[in-house]
């Protein structure tokens, strides 16, 4: 049971993130929501590679024993790097949006579309 806990946390994080993106009206809060979804997905990847009682997959002066799988950790790292780039782009776009509209309310910036 205890080893299912990370998966429950993954589901909770993704749902919380989606809730924030859908129902929060502030752009910054929406970005935080996206970051939370990303954390959920990263946690899921990390959890997949974990085995009970395993050590970190480092050979240097390793104490021996089973190691957790390094591939998901590499995937997570890539995903984090991409996340940083996306976050930076979204924040800089929000700066520009604020300059043009003087608001961060998502209902006010989208108006006037035909």
């Amino acid at each position: 049971m205890i080893f299912n806990f990370p998966f429950i946390a993954v589901a909770a994080l993704i749902i919380v993130g989606l809730y924030a993106v859908v129902f929060r009206k502030n752009l910054i809060k929406m970005i935080i929501g996206i970051t939370i979804i990303e954390s959920g997905v990263n946690l899921f990847l990390i959890t997949l590679g974990y085995r009970e009682g395993s050590i970190a997959p480092i050979y240097t002066s390793s104490p021996g024993g089973i190691m957790s799988l390094p591939v998901p950790q590499a995937l997570t790292l890539t995903s984090i790097v991409i996340g940083v780039a996306v976050l930076a782009l979204m924040l800089s776009l929000v700066i520009h949006i604020y300059r043009h509209y003087n608001t961060l309310d998502v209902r006010k910036i989208g108006g006037g579309e035909e």
Binding site: I34, V41, S79, A85, V86, M90, L93, V94, E114
Partner: protein, 520 residues
């Protein structure tokens, strides 16, 4: 080993690595001279285009190609990244590079007055590399990475005119939608990895069980990639992004959308290829339904628009519906082997991917030309432009005939394949498709009337024909439209049919990797 063999042997990686290399060299050339930088970017793209054509020729004559990164041969379990290129991948890659090349030529004059063009060219080349990567890769995680590269660079380019609030807003919407879609793709990749200990598409497809988790992964992948591909009702970002981006970027965005569509096909036909033929699974019908809704909504919304680029964007949504309709019809008839009508539908759908890229692309280029000449996109304020912009008008009429599927343009050939085969599935589908095609004609006749025809307006007296590079870019696409329209058989037999067969033949796709790895 002579040079040509060397290029052929390494062509899958060259297709991605050369634009990437060019992207990072562009700022250095930009420091020296603006013109040099433009020439450099176009040279890089011409090299990439020729490499993709060499690759496509090789794939179509010699079968599926693989390329392993960092090692000569493969060992089980497969952790290496590898590219797997079949006829479908190379077909999509051809479309992407042609669009990118045309967009680069078009940008020469179109973006001339803007600042920060070093970044523009860098991002454009990055975007091309990302698109090609999505289409050539054989690895699910790699697909996600290239999806994100494409999303980030294209969102930055959508918001390139940061002095316009609407552009920035459209870019923000695009990046939010793309990121959420890509994260769900990553989640599905993790679901696959957890079950099968593999990231390679062929190995996942080999060992797929269609368990409960696989169903969740399928739902998430279809949802996320359909959103990226602009299928109704997940298309709403598309008109915003298409209409607010610079026209040269919109042309490549069409390619990006289709690369996502390619991902959807890869998922449905290859990864779930063994399971999709079970009668209990109705993915084909879901796609057909998506297609019909997409066509209807696209054309109805396009009629009501008064902004030129937004109108074309909704017409593009309608065109996406035709592809989905054709491909979905092909999927419905697979039980487990595809029927003749289904194969025709699939060919029509795949051929329409190329035709949509050309037709809608030409329309966006014309809209960009109008914007360049008059600084105006609203149809209410345009009029009488045919007097001053003769060549643009001719290109617009060619695009009009093609996009609304009038013979003898290329749009008709692919739509005919779709009509005839969907009629055999259900006549109502074909009738809706034909009626929507008529509506498309009505939509663009409206544009022709209100922008090009009519009396000369005094405020457009000073309007001049657009520069030569823009005309040349439009002429390339218009020429391709006419050639593909008059000789559809060449394209269908040489490129489209191998692509359709490659898509259906998922056993061949799997066994290629399996024999390489020496297992199973």
């Amino acid at each position: 080993m002579n040079a040509l063999d060397f290029i052929i042997a390494n062509s899958p990686i060259f297709a991605v690595a050369i634009p990437l290399l060019g992207a990072f060299l562009t700022p250095i050339f930009g420091r020296i001279n603006d013109k040099l930088r433009n020439i450099f970017a176009i040279t890089i793209m011409i090299i990439t285009t020729s490499i993709v054509f060499i690759l496509a020729y090789d794939v179509i004559t010699n079968g599926i190609r693989t390329y392993i990164f960092g090692a000569q041969d493969l060992t089980l379990p497969v952790v290496r990244i590898l590219f797997e290129v079949d006829a479908m991948s190379s077909f999509m890659a051809i479309i992407s590079v042609v669009l990118a090349l045309v967009a680069l030529i078009y940008s020469w004059a179109f973006m001339k007055e803007n600042t920060g063009l070093d970044k523009y060219y860098t991002l454009l080349l990055l975007m091309t590399a990302g698109m090609l990567g999505m289409e050539l890769t054989g690895d699910m995680f790699n697909f996600f990475v290239f999806l994100e590269i494409t999303s980030i660079s294209s969102a930055a380019l959508v918001a390139f005119w940061i002095n316009k609030g609407k552009s920035v807003e459209a870019g923000f919407k695009y990046i939010v939608i793309s990121t959420i879609g890509a994260l769900f793709v990553l989640f599905s990749v993790a679901l696959f990895y957890g079950q099968y200990n593999a990231l390679n598409m062929a190995i996942i497809a080999h060992s797929i069980q269609f368990s409960f988790l696989d169903k969740i992964a399928l739902v998430l992948l279809i949802g996320a990639l359909a959103m990226k591909a602009g299928i109704v009702p997940l298309h709403m970002w598309l008109p915003d992004a298409y209409s607010k981006a610079p026209s040269s970027i919109t042309l490549i965005l069409v390619g990006v959308t289709q690369a996502s569509l390619y991902g959807l096909l890869r998922v449905c036909f290859t990864i779930y290829g063994k399971m999709i033929t079970l009668s209990s699974i109705s993915i084909g019908w879901i796609l057909v339904l998506f297609g019909i809704v997409t066509i209807l909504l696209g054309v109805i919304m396009a009629i009501a628009q008064s902004d030129l680029k937004r109108l074309i964007a909704f017409a593009a949504v309608g065109e996406i519906g035709y592809m989905i309709l054709g491909i979905g019809t092909g999927l419905v008839t697979m039980s487990p082997d595809i029927s003749a009508a289904g194969l025709t539908a699939l060919k029509g759908g795949i051929f329409h991917i190329m035709n949509d890229a050309l037709d809608v692309g030409l329309m966006f280029l014309v809209a960009g030309a109008i914007f360049y000449a008059t600084r105006e996109t609203s149809l209410d304020r345009l009029g009488g432009l045919a007097r001053n912009m003769k060549y643009t008008t001719v290109f617009f009429i060619i695009g009009l005939l093609a996009v609304s599927g009038l013979p003898p343009m290329n749009g008709f050939a692919s739509k005919l394949l779709i009509y005839e085969s969907t009629y055999q599935l259900n006549p109502i589908l074909a009738i809706i498709a034909i009626l929507s095609s008529i509506l498309l004609l009505a939509i663009f006749v409206k544009v022709l009337h209100s922008a090009f025809l009519g009396p000369a307006l005094p405020r457009f007296n000073e309007v001049k024909e657009v520069p030569k590079s823009m005309l040349f870019a439009m002429a390339i696409i218009a020429g391709m439209i006419i050639i593909f329209g008059i000789f559809p058989d060449i394209v269908v037999n040489n490129i489209v049919e191998p692509a359709a067969n490659a898509l259906v033949d998922n056993a061949g796709y799997i066994s290629k990797i399996m024999s390489l790895a020496g297992g199973a």
